[in-house]
Symmetry: D4
Subunit: 239 residues, 8 copies
């Protein structure tokens, strides 16, 4: 990621970004994801143009001040915020260092009789990883919302593998997955091909089927994963 290829957004100051997913037919269809780098003093008082968009922010480096519902939150590395649609929020880098975060956006699918969830702010350090059964602790997922809570229509979680971690069974939903490797590297079996991924790679998958995974060492292999959940599949009107 280098200077000459950055983008700008309206109403964001001293900020540049990389669009790693956006809705295009045959590509990500439900969400968009940016990596955003805010210089000291930068940020936005009008960060989101779409009133129907909900968002997750996840801070990779640096420190940011998020104001939402009139309340200020310090977001350090690992900082995580959920913002429902039509939230009134701002984001500012009040420090002297660059700050970098993931900005995941999705048009919220409201359901009659189901509440829209409220905004919340947390940090990955406060969220314990749940061990996948049968993996001897080598595969853990940090879930930021309760999987049974149907108010949410997407999850952004963090998955971690220890070296030699193995995925013992395939996941075969037709759910959109966006996967950004935060740390380490691994070899995945996708369809019939083995693919090596490492820090900074982004995968977008409709049917995520890592039939097998070899996480390399020496450190852990971790990724940020988006998936859409908890809603009926929409049926298009062809006419």
């Amino acid at each position: 990621m280098r200077d000459i290829v950055t983008s700008q957004l309206p109403f964001w100051d001293n900020t540049r970004l990389w669009v790693i997913a956006r809705p295009l037919s045959g590509f990500a269809e439900t969400f968009s994801q940016y990596i955003v780098e805010v210089s000291p003093g930068g940020g936005s008082d009008k960060p989101e143009a779409d009133p129907g968009a909900s968002a997750v922010l996840f801070v990779v480096s640096g420190n940011l001040v998020l104001t939402v519902g009139g309340e200020k939150h310090e977001l350090a590395p690992g900082g995580y915020a959920f913002l429902p649609p039509s939230s009134d929020w701002t984001l500012r880098n009040t420090s002297d260092e660059l700050a970098t975060f993931h900005f995941v956006r999705k048009a919220y699918e409201a359901v009659d009789g189901i509440d829209v969830p409220a905004a919340f702010v947390t940090n990955e350090a406060e969220v314990e990883g749940i061990e996948m059964p049968g993996t001897e602790g080598r595969w853990r997922t940090q879930r930021f919302v309760d999987p049974l809570d149907v108010r949410y229509d997407f999850h952004v979680n963090i998955v971690s593998f220890e070296p030699g971690g193995v995925i013992p069974f395939p996941e075969t939903h037709v759910m959109e997955h966006g996967i950004y490797i935060l740390e380490g590297k691994a070899v995945y079996l996708l369809n019939k091909d083995w693919v090596e991924v490492q820090e900074g790679d982004f995968l977008w998958l409709r049917a995520f089927c890592p039939q097998a995974c070899y996480a390399g060492g020496p450190g852990p292999f971790r990724y940020l994963i988006y998936k859409d959940v908890n809603r009926h599949a929409k049926l298009p009107r062809l006419s």
Copy 2:
């Protein structure tokens, strides 16, 4: 299919499901299909969110009580229900065992002057398989509705092959097909490649062209097939 990868739906209790087809560009565009597992006592009184959606339910295991138009129906394995759009229905597992069924949904394409068909409930045991001519009975199709009845805009049928069964001619429509293998295994010639499929596999095809098929033994090879039928192709307004 394992616990950790299940999804939830609003207004369904004690239920988890796997989305095996949903409308996404370049993927299934007319229908969605779930495999739904209902625990004892579970089910839904508000099972469908989309008033324009019609549905087929096909029970794989367990027992369910379907109430539609005020009438109760016991659905045992092989149970099959057609539900037109805006049906008033509920589904409950009143037994002590898990129940699993396929839930196929499509936005009904109404045609002026053509009636919307009524709901009906049956069981595959009551539907005789029709032998394909020239296949010595090794290829049979159980049709749940009359192929000449243009009220229906999709079919969900069951196709069976005996070991060594062979498809003697290709089908070349540009119709969407969703195929879920219920039992057995086979090798298909799709385009230029031979593909092995077996119980639990799902195939989605726009142009279904099994130019050849070798059904393996020792038991039969059976699948549940969705196809859209009986409507003009919709012409998009590009502007």
Copy 3:
């Protein structure tokens, strides 16, 4: 093409059809094409459901009576009709034999200040093939409308090659092409691959680039070709 795989359409009697192109994302996006087989006495008084659809009919075998604008036309093999949107037309097989025709449909793109063209009926026997320059008469195109007449937003023409016919230059438009082989066979260079096509094959191409073509003998190689023309590319509103 065999009995068991035919489709039905509302308001068509004694008719079955094969859908060889329909608008689906990543596939034909502007048109649909059917091969329609009408039994004696069959046909339709309400043949088109979409008032915005224009059509071309091209008769492959048998005899049909087309009534349009109150006027009757006998369509023998090679018969060709253009039908603008909202035409009042019927089609009947009044003979004792099966009749088969291509039914190509497109949503007409009206332009302010440009007239909608009127219906017309002709036969390929009345349309002379124009030799492509530099091909010694081995490549000819029968054009059914004037290529400079911007009222039409699609063309359905017939292209013929003599044995050993060669395409001397590539066509590189991003235009949708639907090609149905009427007679003979040939080998095409599409992208980097040679593909053999023969009578009854259908090709759909966005960027039609037959960099080379070897038409085999002993008879001619002929195809029916759809392409969309004479309109600005539509620019989608992403929001």
Copy 4:
């Protein structure tokens, strides 16, 4: 590019064109691009049918007169014009020679609080190429608008390489790129494959990742590049 494959547009006289990009699912989704050839006396007083379309014109050969906002501009080779949506413009070839230009069109994405930029006319000769850092001047970009000016939602620039020029780092945005080679040839590493491109080739890429590039000699390698910028990714409403 030869006579028999040209297209026509309504309200353009003595003009023919080649559509090298247009919005189709799975292909260019935000823009269209034509190569337009105007004969002496030809042109249009009603060149654009879509009031929401903005455009860039870039003249490859010949001379044209552009009238915009009541002002006349002579466009010689290298001539470049930006036309915001709903511009009142005409284009005429008043010379004795053919004139050829690129016509890039995009539906302008207005943003509340951000002005629509005004039309402007310039020539590539007036725009200095900016050297990419670390390339010893072998890679330069002529930018026609300021990359920090968020009023614009797309850029059409010219990129040049000297023989042996190398791209030292990949660009990984999910931005649409349309690249038309104006001069010279080169070998690109796209994904895992090396591809040779030369004058007259057009590439369309969602994720443009020339991990490496060898520009061949003896002359420079130059291309015209479209990319969409400065806007939030639109989030579709699936229902």
Copy 5:
């Protein structure tokens, strides 16, 4: 197999043949195999030029008279003869019909202290098929010599599958196999690809690994198989 492509051999009269395997580097290295067609009255009194060659003859159609060691044998369809090196043999078609047989040749690898086996003549009708354990009789092998008899350095056997027959475990020797399909058809999994084979096909394999096999119906699937056995791998002298 047609007239114009036949070959001749010295000292064979009224005979033509097809060479389906011969020693070439990277191809069959230990044996050769011909399909030989002898016209009435044809045959040879000097059938083998190489005194070190042993052979198997297997009659596919017609009748032949084999004289070996001064004794005459009538070879009807299914007739099978083993001929050790330096055998004194002749073969004649004394009937009025064409006769066709497989002629498999191998340089005999003598071992000090192990006898050279004698010639013998039999017919496949006299050799019972041995059921492979665990295949319910759907996979049988007719062995013409005892697998424990180390005098033989190659086997030519017949393998048969019933429709739906399945190979339950892979064979992983680096042994040369030549397989000629005598009857029926099947789909094999070789490495990662499924391959369809049918009557008249010949496969040559160094490492024969049919991890799976679907034998199609309605009749049996049978092949003649060569493999080299019972000898140490020869170690080449590189200098």
Copy 6:
């Protein structure tokens, strides 16, 4: 074929050559083939180093004087000579123009009781093409020796196709074929791939299986073909 890449041979004057086939494992194993260009005055009195080598010469352009067995022969274009092993021959270009010929060499496989054939000289103009049955004269072969004459162990023939010529059945011998295209072009189906060949291309094939061929026009498509014939497959001694 350009100057800087030519080779030299011992005892050949004013001569350069291109080696288009030579025995290498996994490549041509029985023969070698050169294209030889002799300048005026050039040639050789010691043209062959290997006393066991037989040869065919075929003149493509220019004029040469062949002396064999003390007799002089003028070789004009189309000139063809067979030279058995240990022939005493010389070749000289006594004209003022370059002369080019194919020089095909093979180690002669002598058979006890079969004579070595004598040298002969002819010209393709004297050898009538034999029509392949069922090809309407579009496929002809000029045979330079009688296919039933088992003294020869290789053939070098000329095959010609008219435009649109089609190969109606495959040739499936495991015979080495070397094919040099003398004139025209065609598309071949080799295995599963279509390959385009044209004048100057050389193909080497172990199993020659042109399942289909489309000869392009406007002129004929002709090639020089080597194949080895009339001998038992040699069985290697592995020890």
Copy 7:
């Protein structure tokens, strides 16, 4: 490995074997490797037919008695023996259990002035693994002979990786390698493809280039590796 596919060898009793490598062109060219299973009481007094062959034996399971040079050695699992050419040795299973060992054979390349090494017997338990530098002990090799001892012309070693072990640099010799996986599994990058290997797999490689390796867990990944060493490449005499 199942009963019906075993081979026999002359002078071996109650023994069956699988040939996993043997010299064939384009395959292993310097060595052969068997997996040998000896029943109680079985073995051989004449185990090697080739006086120029040297060998390594490596016991996988069971117990064997090796007599060499008149001395008896008990070979337990992990037992390893080197046998120079013309050794006088016998092998017997005197236990009540099956015994399985690898039998690696190579024609010894003698060098004037270099001694032939003597036979030796050891066990892998007595050979310490040497850590590869820079791998933190995750990659170790047990060498059975000194790599600087040029008397040996091949090595058979054992390589072990801990889970997450990584190969930090490629090995690029054109040396033959035969690799038999003894335990665990891993994913290798060979050329451009990732390949998964596991216990019981055999790889044969001319140029062994595992540019990367991910050893999976939970246990170690171990293989037996053959490579030829310490000799000049032999230069063939082509004539």
Copy 8:
């Protein structure tokens, strides 16, 4: 190239080497090539085991003393020596630094009546590069022996390209080529694929057909090339 993967050779002291080519079927068949690294004081008095082998030495780094025919030669970087078969030579590193050289070996093919060439020593600095015609000096070859001198049966030359250098015509001999990249990098078109090569890569090719080449900058692209020349193709005796 790292310590743990080096090889040893008999009679070479303080020396390690990498075998980059050796005769194996389907691989280099006429030559072998090593990269040899000699430590101070190291070298050999018996460097070649095969009396029929000729050799070229080319020094990459360091200084060596070659004694041949009783005469001493200092070989600095760029030093080049030709050694005919049965030469009496030694090589020693008498300096304090490592020395690295290429050692190319071939069995000399003697021809009756043609002299064996004498040994010679030179340096690439003394050999001028010859410009290929039509390449504006961007492609040059340093030839170490006269291409018309048929005494030599192989050449080892150095080829250099300037950045942007292009190969204007293909070389189509069936000659073995071994290419070691000495400096720089480039993209080659081999068959239908573009391949990137850079310093330290080795290519082995039977039919060298760089139909196109883009040499990257900023420095030159240079390689050492072996090819066999000036001899008749050897014809194998199959029996």
